[in-house]
């Protein structure tokens, strides 16, 4: 058990010093800052577009980080053979997988925290310049704590994406792992449509396959509460808890799967 901590710490250090990480975070923050300018175009909807853009940027850049740095976790380490001296130490292969995942989650958390601070900062400066009666008519306040709920759901979504990336990179090259992970993400977004397949297609076999896919593949659309949060529609705690449990179950399944594949792998 004690090997997981050091691995996570090392992964975190490597990731946050990576230029890719820095550039993505910087770009994300700039985009959020730019939203103040874009807000001028929206005829008084500044608060909405800043929140929309801020949350979208957080989600998108977090996705890039989860995929690109997540793929590096195992694929690059195997490709460059830095896994050789590591596995010769007192660490089991499952501990290696768990430690890698924990390190990347920590990296993601830092990224999300930076983007959230940037978003709240921009909202603060916006709210300072707008009189109170107008703010009272908004769907949700500028410095709305409910935004954190949206960020938390983004984190849950990305924790599943990271687990997918880790899973693929235990046996695929970096390029293939990235493609597969992105594919799963896109399919997962459309997942809800699969449920309504019977409205589009007639063949019962196709509908059965679609329904099976709907239940088995991760449904990423259920982690999207951005619209609700921006418009002040309440997000119940029970819903958040259920989503967290769903994410945890998926992550566990993927990590165990990764451990199984990784356990008997020959490093040629």
């Amino acid at each position: 058990m004690s090997a997981i901590g050091p691995v996570a710490a090392a992964v975190f250090r490597e990731s946050v010093r990576d230029k890719v990480f820095y550039n993505l975070v910087l770009f994300g923050v700039l985009l959020v800052g730019a939203s103040i300018v874009i807000g001028q175009l929206t005829a008084g909807q500044d608060v909405k577009i800043i929140k929309d853009l801020g949350l979208a940027a957080t989600s998108l850049f977090g996705l890039f980080i989860a995929i690109f740095i997540g793929i590096n976790l195992v694929s690059k380490e195997v490709e460059r053979r830095s896994v050789y001296p590591l596995l010769a130490k007192p660490i089991t292969r499952p501990q290696f997988i768990a430690g890698k995942y924990a390190g990347l989650l920590l990296t993601l958390l830092v990224n999300l925290a930076v983007m959230t601070v940037a978003l709240y900062t921009v909202l603060y400066f916006l709210a300072r310049g707008i009189p109170a009666p107008i703010q009272g008519a908004w769907d949700a306040p500028a410095l709305d704590p409910a935004l954190l709920k949206a960020v938390a759901m983004i984190f849950l979504e990305l924790s599943v994406v990271t687990a997918v990336a880790l899973f693929f990179s235990t046996y695929s090259s970096p390029m293939l792992s990235a493609i597969f992970t992105l594919g799963v993400y896109v399919v997962g977004q459309f997942n809800a449509e699969l449920k309504r397949f019977d409205a589009i297609v007639d063949s019962p076999a196709a509908i059965a396959v679609a329904k099976a896919c709907y239940y088995v593949l991760p449904d990423f659309s259920r982690f999207d509460v951005k619209l609700a949060v921006v418009h002040g529609v309440p997000v119940p705690g029970a819903f958040m808890a259920a989503s967290a449990a769903y994410a945890a179950a998926y992550v566990a399944a993927l990590l165990f799967g990764a451990m199984v594949i990784f356990a008997r792998r020959d490093f040629k």
Binding site: T42, Q45, K48, K51, A56, S59, V230
Partner: protein, 276 residues
């Protein structure tokens, strides 16, 4: 290396100059409907994945630009508002809670040509869609009443809408009296004045400005009638200025005065039809 650096700077300067020159050429006269990016709202909703909020914002901005540029275009341009409803429909399909899109649509979709497309039926469709997403939003019901009242002159339906709005949570307490007045005196200028006076208190600046303009137009119509009545009785009053400061002009057909085409209040409600 001096040579390649100078060459790079020169080529960049040439590119900039070329861009400026091309800009001056007349653009092809097609307003590309490709600006909609995606034709079907359902397809847009699927394509946007989990970025629907921001996609809706993009369409909202496009709708504002489209409406604004058409409305403010010079006399040589034939105004065409055909993209307004599709853009608002896209924005509200992507974000069903996008209240400003519904309300903007309700006011301006029904606006008669050349101020708007003159399609109150589309305004009603949009508002009903908004009510489907948020059935207890009294503002949408109020706007529905407004469209029936002002553009369709269906005072019974308008009164019913105001009544239902008054029963929704959070509705202001002038809603019920407005319903009553509409029922009793629909079409009379006083009832309209009551409606516009309430709308002039709105938090949306463009709605306020619209209401103020309407109230000025109603005042202008009052002044026009008073002048005509005076003339009929033999009093020849001098031609006054309308509430926006521009003088009225004589209308040879009726012998009365009418708002000048140069005035900000032109055209009064009912004066022009949109091209078919």
């Amino acid at each position: 290396m001096r040579g390649p650096a100078a060459a790079a700077a020169l080529c960049l300067a040439a590119a900039v100059a070329l861009h400026a020159a091309i800009d001056r050429w007349p653009a092809p006269a097609v307003d590309t409907p490709g600006l909609l990016y995606v034709r079907s709202p359902e397809a847009a909703r699927r394509a946007a994945l989990s970025y629907r909020g921001i996609a809706a914002d993009v369409y909202w901005i496009r709708a504002l630009q489209h409406f604004g540029s058409e409305r403010l275009a010079g006399p040589g341009h034939v105004k065409d508002y055909s993209l307004l409803y599709p853009l608002l429909d896209l924005a509200t399909t992507l974000d069903p809670y996008f209240s400003i899109a519904y309300r903007f649509g309700s006011i301006f979709l029904g606006e008669p040509y050349p101020g708007g497309p003159g399609r109150p039926d589309l305004a009603i469709a949009l508002l009903k869609k908004g009510l489907a997403a948020q059935p207890a939003k009294w503002q949408y019901m109020q706007d529905l009443g407004f469209v029936y009242y002002w553009h369709l002159h269906d005072y019974h339906a308008a009164a019913e809408a105001f009544q239902r709005a008054s029963e929704m949570p959070g509705a202001p307490n002038w809603m019920r009296p407005l319903a009553a007045v509409t029922l009793a005196e629909g079409g009379h200028r006083n009832a309209s004045r009551a409606l516009w006076t309430e709308l002039a208190k709105s938090e949306e600046p463009w709605l306020r400005d619209s209401a103020v303009l309407r109230l000025a137009q109603l005042d202008a119509m009052d002044t026009m009638e008073a002048w005509k009545r005076a003339k009929d009785q033999g009093l020849n009053l001098p031609i006054p200025n309308d509430p926006s400061g521009t003088p009225f002009v004589l209308n040879p057909a009726t012998g009365g005065i009418i708002v000048s085409p140069q005035s900000k209040l032109y055209p009064l409600p009912g004066q022009l039809e949109p091209p078919r």
